[in-house]
């Protein structure tokens, strides 16, 4: 019976680990949702923050976050699609493939604070752009390029060779094949990756806090080269005064909004991925 005892013990350990994890993770979510829900109302969402963010709302922080990630989307999407096309259509040499994979996975693994430092040195100081919306968007764009490249490459390489060959057989040149056959499929993968990337980018604090955001007094940036204010850095400011109940309340509210934005992006990515049809089934 010793074996049976061991078996039950093992199963009990697995069950308790799973229960523990569920408890921890649902604690996290419920804390944010319950505390955040108390704060969120139209007034909170539509007014600007006062007194270090402890009073007022988060209207311009939301606008700032949207500006940052839309800038990132515009910059990263074309570059990433180009890279994915190159990987799937031009690079046939396995060594080159391996090198490009290493570069992309490497870029994906770089800690976010390093991107912040890179932006601070290269853009803010070396190119002297100042702390600005534009630099923040560039850095976030660099961060999400790998996600988009991998996702679009995956959907491009899933197109059966037959489709390419029949297109060539009709006398289409390479560029025509790319735009008519490869891209329509690749775009969906790219959009999936884009949403996943943006979900990650919208919550990033370390890369933007030195290079793109200002503390207060920022409304809409007048140009590309002015600072914005963003949700994550706002939460950072509020978290540093966590004993001020009003500030903490606002921090929960801002967190809930941030998480909702993150969930919307993630879920749309999942949705697109599920509804994505391979070219052969259209």
């Amino acid at each position: 019976m010793n074996r049976r005892v061991k078996n039950n013990l093992f199963l009990a350990v697995c069950w308790s680990a799973a229960i523990l994890c569920t408890l921890i993770l649902s604690f996290l979510l419920s804390v944010i949702i319950l505390n955040g829900a108390k704060t969120i109302n139209p007034d909170f969402l539509l007014s600007n923050s006062r007194n270090f963010g402890a009073e007022g709302g988060i209207f311009y922080q939301m606008i700032g976050s949207v500006l940052l990630i839309s800038g990132a989307a515009f910059i990263s999407l074309p570059i990433a699609i180009g890279t994915a096309l190159c990987k799937s259509e031009y690079v046939k040499n396995p060594v080159l493939q391996k090198i490009s994979n290493m570069m992309i996975y490497g870029l994906n693994g770089i800690p976010s604070v390093i991107f912040g430092i890179f932006g601070l040195i290269f853009f803010v100081n070396f190119l002297n752009t100042g702390i600005s919306w534009f630099v923040g968007s560039i850095i976030l764009a660099i961060m999400i390029i790998p996600t988009i490249v991998l996702s679009s490459y995956q959907s491009m390489s899933s197109i059966p060779r037959m489709y390419r060959e029949s297109a060539y057989a009709l006398g289409m040149d390479k560029w025509k094949v790319i735009t008519k056959v490869i891209l329509p499929q690749g775009i969906q993968g790219a959009i999936t990756g884009l949403f996943l990337g943006l979900a990650r980018a919208v919550g990033e604090t370390a890369p933007v806090m030195f290079i793109a955001t200002a503390f207060s007094g920022v409304k809409l940036p007048g140009s590309l080269f002015q600072p914005v204010t963003a949700l994550p850095t706002h939460i950072l400011t509020l978290a540093q005064q966590a004993t001020n109940t009003q500030a903490l309340q606002n921090a929960w509210g801002a967190s809930l909004v941030l998480i909702l934005v993150f969930f919307i992006f993630s879920l749309s990515a999942l949705f697109i991925r599920i509804t994505l049809q391979p070219v052969s089934q259209r």
Binding site: R4, K6, N7, L9, F10, L11, C14, W15, A17, A18, L25, L28, V31, I32, P78, A80, I81, G82, T83, C86, K87, Y90, S100, M102, G106, G109, I110, P111, V113, I114, I117, F118, L120, I121, F122, F126, I145, V149, D173, K174, W175, K176, T192, G193, L196, G203, E204, T205, A206, F210, P232, L236, A242, A251, W252, S255, L258, F262, L267, L270
Partner: protein, 290 residues
């Protein structure tokens, strides 16, 4: 006309590929150039115990120690918990629910770290302080616990994939020989999933090392190795928290700044090495959620 467009298109593809390939080299190059002053001026003096910029002392050992200890402890907590939970989701839980659990975990894996930081300041540091009767709950241990919770979803979902990908036939053969469930899992499933699990742990290790915001808010930010050296309930400092707090304070092109960048470069090199090694282990690769 068509040939012209084709040329432009090819140019676009090549340029964008070059951009995305060169960025990582550019980052490495920029960091190296900026840390050159510190390496040149400091040399081995960088690896000492005292960090005091006004006196030109830039010892990074306390930060290296902090990063190492925080990461190791968080893995010690998260890896067993994560693997057992992954065994639960892939082997014990009814397959019907697995997809929901997986989606939930993958969503959790992406929650922004600043929110973990907020929860850490508002709850964990207070709890740790009260639990151990400390003056302040901002300790290495608090940071490690918070970090372990952050990497838990990543570990669970990657290990679950690894275990799930073990072909069903191994389980059936082992069962057919009269093995109990725990023997089936321990002796036949886990050894086959081993390499993927190692890859998952390495990826989680990389993520934990590079985590900034959550750690920065709860670790206490003292540039000292605690006494005695194994006292985890003392404040400390990691490379990332040091960078997050101090990089904007140091003047550009000073030795101080250069020493900070040097730390960043060490961190980057370690994390890149881990990523490449992990990629060798994870043959299935190409996951989007890490």
């Amino acid at each position: 006309m068509s040939a012209y467009i084709s040329k432009v298109g090819k140019g676009y593809i090549i340029i964008s590929t070059l951009i995305s390939m060169i960025i990582i080299l550019l980052i490495l190059g920029v960091l190296f150039l900026s840390s050159y002053d510190a390496i040149h001026g400091g040399g081995w003096r960088l690896f000492t115990l005292t960090w005091n910029p006004p006196n030109n002392q830039f010892g990074i050992l306390p930060m290296l120690y902090g990063s190492l200890v925080v990461t190791v402890i968080s893995l010690v907590i998260a890896v067993p918990l994560g693997i057992f939970t992954a065994i639960f989701t892939s082997e014990i839980l009814h397959p019907k629910y697995r997809i929901y659990v997986k989606s939930f975990l993958e969503l959790l894996a992406g929650i922004p770290s600043i929110i973990y930081g907020l929860i850490g300041v508002a709850f964990f540091s207070v709890w740790v302080g009260e639990l151990f009767h400390l003056q302040s709950g901002r300790t290495i241990f608090t940071a490690a616990v918070l970090l372990s919770i952050m990497i838990l979803p990543t570990i669970i979902t990657l290990c679950d994939d690894a275990i799930h990908h073990v072909p069903q036939k191994y389980r059936e053969v082992a069962k057919g020989l009269g093995l109990y469930k725990h023997e089936v899992i321990i002796t036949s499933v886990l050894p086959i999933a081993k390499t993927d699990i190692i890859g998952a742990v390495l990826l989680a290790l990389g993520r934990a090392l590079g985590e900034t915001m959550a750690v920065m808010l709860v670790i206490g930010s003292i540039d000292k190795i605690p006494t005695p050296i194994y006292n985890l309930l003392a404040p400390g400092q990691t490379i990332t928290s040091k960078l997050g707090r101090e990089i904007a304070e140091s003047a550009f092109s000073s030795i101080h700044f250069s020493a900070m960048v040097f730390m960043g470069m060490i961190l980057l090199i370690i994390v890149l090495a881990l990523t490449f090694i992990a990629q060798q282990f994870l043959k299935s690769g190409q996951r989007l959620y890490e």
